[in-house]
Assembly symmetry: D2
Homo-oligomer: 357 residues x 4
């Protein structure tokens, strides 16, 4: 049985490169040879043991590669095509999928919903930080890369871009909106780009790292606020003549940013939450107008599936959003343990690392 | 190779019962033994040669039955379960399906949309007026019948109920709306029931057949209008103090009813079209306010898939809508040619005919 | 200057009936002679000093009466007409109003939003527990009572019905939904009725008072759960085969019910919050799937304005919802202090009290 | 009584500059001294007698000016402020306004809807092609111009920009959409800009005038098609690999463009109609998939009111859309008859003419 290299979760604080068998291809699967992948903040949660996965699982959920072999029931694709698949790989046929909630894709039991069930790669099945990945429900999830786009250009599509954009989409950003984005990591930066794509005219990014604030401006932020230079809520209120934001996007996953989002909103505003939280959240009574403020708090996992991937790659191909500046480092798969070390400790201004076998 | 009886389109004006092989079950299919099915107005269009299908095709798209055999890749169901499938059997994995437009389900080519592509049974693959039917993409389309519901009670779910309700849903009926439904055949009657389910408080049904108008009242019409007793638009305006309807549902497929719908709307109203038209339509300039009236004209094929079927059967099980009165006649499959004759000529007050093998 | 009786907030725990001048009618106002009004839970918060209002303010925000005098700029109404006005009386012309957020109606400054700004009666201007009330922005807020409806029949429209229904509307209840309503006070009962109006097929009411659970069944609950008979979340999961609710409506304003709502939802479900909270809220990490569960938490103040009132009275007139059983007691305005005592202490099975001058 | 110059409709083919009294200011009005206005295609319809208005009416509906005098009931503004008002000046308090349909603003009778009732200036009351205009319901309609924006920069906001953008908004353009715009006059050009603002990645403009096609590219068209170089539907299908557009925007008002829009759509697509038609429209059966194609045809009058105007001016202030290239000519009010002659005959590459008293 032929072998491949794969980054495997062994135990808390240990993700190591191991040899694993190249997987068998079932009728509905596709085997994709990875040409580029990357590490996500969620992978660091796994590394630290904060998010549990099975020992021996291959991690990673952002695959760019080439179709090596198609399952017998998969049609419309050809071996050798360059493809991506989303971090979320819905089946397409659960009840959740069939009512527009495919990120909560459940098993084919009576009801068919499961919390975070759409996220499979590097969570419940082997992931993308390897030489090969088996894509489940390939018919629903493979998406051919348009000619002329490099791996690096589409590397953000499977997760970061889909997530960040969904923050603006779920926030229902409208033409002329004031949008504030708390935390300008890769997801927050994509939320800035998404808010711009949907017609926001005032986009305020909040962070303290100069390099990130610079990228935010390139991606569409009209203003950036350094939260170390004063209470960010007060800065936002000053910038908006005391009005507050129509939409506030949380892109970090902490009580502080969640609460600042709430306090930054105008009455009737919308908090769109993207962060992965590690603790219970508190909704302060005053910031919530005791429940009478027409405030909506929306949240969710990034959308996946081939149609989502197609649209995101169209955004890249059209030149409307350029996320290459987010890819700050390049590593070989052989060096992935070093890459984790760099990324987990956020050294050297790292945003995203392209990993190539 | 074992044989079964099937109603087959032979040529214009000839649908006949023939022996056909019981189909082979592919990995993604389910073979369902039909226990009850019915004839739709669309089948009559096929019979008359007005809607083209391949010669030799088994017609019918409203299956109620028992799982006889499951494909090797289909999980979560058991042979012997009582099930229905929708008239529309989407794949779940085309681009159309993955962006919420599964009735226009296309092939797995680059773009994945096809006009009316979700309708397969009795259109592009063999249908339900037979002893057995092969359900494509069974994982996405089989839906188990809740205990305690008879075949007759769920017979309207696959098409008529889904279509009629979608007229109210696409019309975006709101609490307190005035809704008018033009034509009270089975679909119009289900549109009445759908408008009631969504909170309309004035529901005006238009027809001229007393029996249909009576059923409309049972299903939720607050008023019925006989179009032979005077211009229905004038009658509607009189009933609504000159205001007009928020939503007008077209349930016949003619220029007359389409145009009357438009003329029945208040400014800013919504025409929801369910009919299958046979001719070009005209939008009169005055009824359309020259394009400046904030009038929306929405249309579509009924939604299918197992989640839709589940919800419709819940409506039946909850007792909120009782469509048994629509089933006016019962025939054996052996007598299907007579059944077509009765139905096509709309004799004997026929609304829907239950066909049992 | 002619005088009238009015229930006035004097200080914590003292609302007393006093003589006040009948107000002058400005150009945009209408003076309405109250024929029936009622006491709301919010009024009890005011009585107890939990919600601050100016000393000397007339309380109450649910007016039914007769137009006594119209302001010079108010057209389309006649003195002597029976009318209601909503608890929320938006101006119609603030930026908030003009973007569909009229409950957060703000002043005519640059931005025009104010938290809870649409609620004026008995909050920022004199209210309805008096012989007369001055309706601000009368053109936007007076709504004529349809012939044949009694005061009692429309008494719930200004607040309770609008609030309860909005719980179902904001929850985006769909045909075939499972909806759970936590707490079956008047607002929760109206939420049950609203969920039914929008097509829910399983409606589960949670409370412990038998009389309220009985009314819930009359208004549309398919199931009622007594939270004293076991953990209500477990009871809901048992009733729904472990699936959970599509929509959970919070109708009390406590951490316990808020949290139980979250825990009752299916993945991707929607919490619609109606309660007025007195403390910070906690979102438990697990119930929120760490922010990745596609869970929306929506909230808001009840919609007001004359079009809303018109539609709610149409619901009553159509006979689709009968809220008379909620009016359990009748008092004269002269006895309003006793009425407050009864209502604040929830004695004698009181739900709502009709107050007549 | 002081006089002013005003362009008045006298009879078919005669709009002339006359002296009229400067209007009296009622309690709810504002008198605005016009500093810039323009001529719209609709005004040409009036001139030609194709759209009936009262003889003696001042025409024009695109006012930019300075508040000269405020009505006694108008607050939050100051005389001397630079303002615009929309072409549509809703009351804010009709039933139509209070349910989000303010362009069909009706009288304060029972129901409150009127076809095109929101359009008042130069239609049912005196308009903007004059030295002064009386703004009805000023509280709902005046919007202060942000510092730093010139008259020319905001001159498109009252009508052209609001209309064009609404074509994209009603079309529900999404990130990654393919949008086609038929006819690149000022409204079509604004529709291009609107589609870009909402995230479309392929925007195809159709016209034959090179100058307009050039402006379309500047405003966001990724492709332009000359309909004289071959059937535009075929060209669109070629550009989109046979898929068709998600949204087609009609911006001319003819059968040809309407029908080409329909034929350019993918199954399940959306036709957003902006044109003012002069004749009945035909929906070809095949292009409409006999009513089963999930095709929506939406239409409407441009949104007005001060919040809309505020947002549009924010778009200008943010630099996201620059419509100055649309203003090709400048005339004095004294020369307005010449300006009509130029504009009606579309000479000299005219797009929009700035008129200044």
């Amino acid at each position: 049985m032929p072998k491949m290299k794969a980054a495997v979760f062994v135990e808390k604080n240990r993700i190591v490169l191991e040899d694993k068998p190249i997987p068998e291809v079932g009728p509905l699967d596709a085997l994709v040879r990875i040409t580029t992948t990357t590490i996500c903040g969620t992978d660091v949660h796994i590394l630290k043991g904060e998010y549990p996965v099975a020992k021996g699982l291959t991690v990673g959920h952002e695959p760019v590669g080439i179709i090596e072999k198609l399952g017998s029931q998969v049609t419309g694709f050809k071996e050798g095509q360059r493809v991506i698949a989303g971090a979320i790989t819905p089946s397409g046929h659960s009840n959740a999928c069939m009512c527009g909630c495919s990120s909560q894709d459940g098993p084919d039991t009576k009801h068919g919903f499961k919390h975070i069930g759409g996220w499979k790669f590097g969570n419940t099945i082997d992931g993308s930080q390897a030489e090969y990945i088996l894509v489940n429900d390939a018919q629903a999830n493979l998406c051919v890369i348009p000619d002329g786009l490099s791996d690096t250009e589409v590397l953000m599509c499977p997760d970061i871009m889909s997530t960040g954009f969904s923050g603006a989409e779920r926030g229902a950003v409208k033409i002329g909106d004031i949008v504030v984005v708390f935390a300008l990591g890769p997801i927050g930066l994509c939320a800035v780009a998404g808010a711009k794509l949907l017609g926001a005219t005032t986009i305020i990014g909040v962070d303290t790292v100069a390099a990130r604030m610079d990228v935010a401006k390139k991606l569409g932020a009209s203003h950036v606020i350094d939260f170390k230079q004063g209470d960010p809520v007060q800065q936002i209120m000053a910038l908006t003549d005391g009005r507050g934001a129509d939409v506030a996007i949380e892109a970090l996953g902490t009580q502080g940013t969640f609460e600042s989002c709430l306090r930054s909103l105008r009455p009737g505003g919308r908090l769109s939450s993207l962060g992965v939280y590690s603790n219970d959240l508190k909704i302060p009574l005053d910031a919530y107008a005791a429940g009478l403020g027409d405030i909506d708090i929306v949240s969710g996992l990034c959308p996946g599936g081939k149609e989502r991937m197609r649209r995101l790659m169209e955004v890249v191909a059209s030149g409307r959003v350029d996320l290459k500046p987010l890819v700050t480092h390049h590593y070989k798969l052989d060096q992935i343990e070093e890459a984790y070390d760099l990324f987990a400790n956020q050294r050297d201004g790292v945003m995203k690392i392209a990993i190539t076998p």
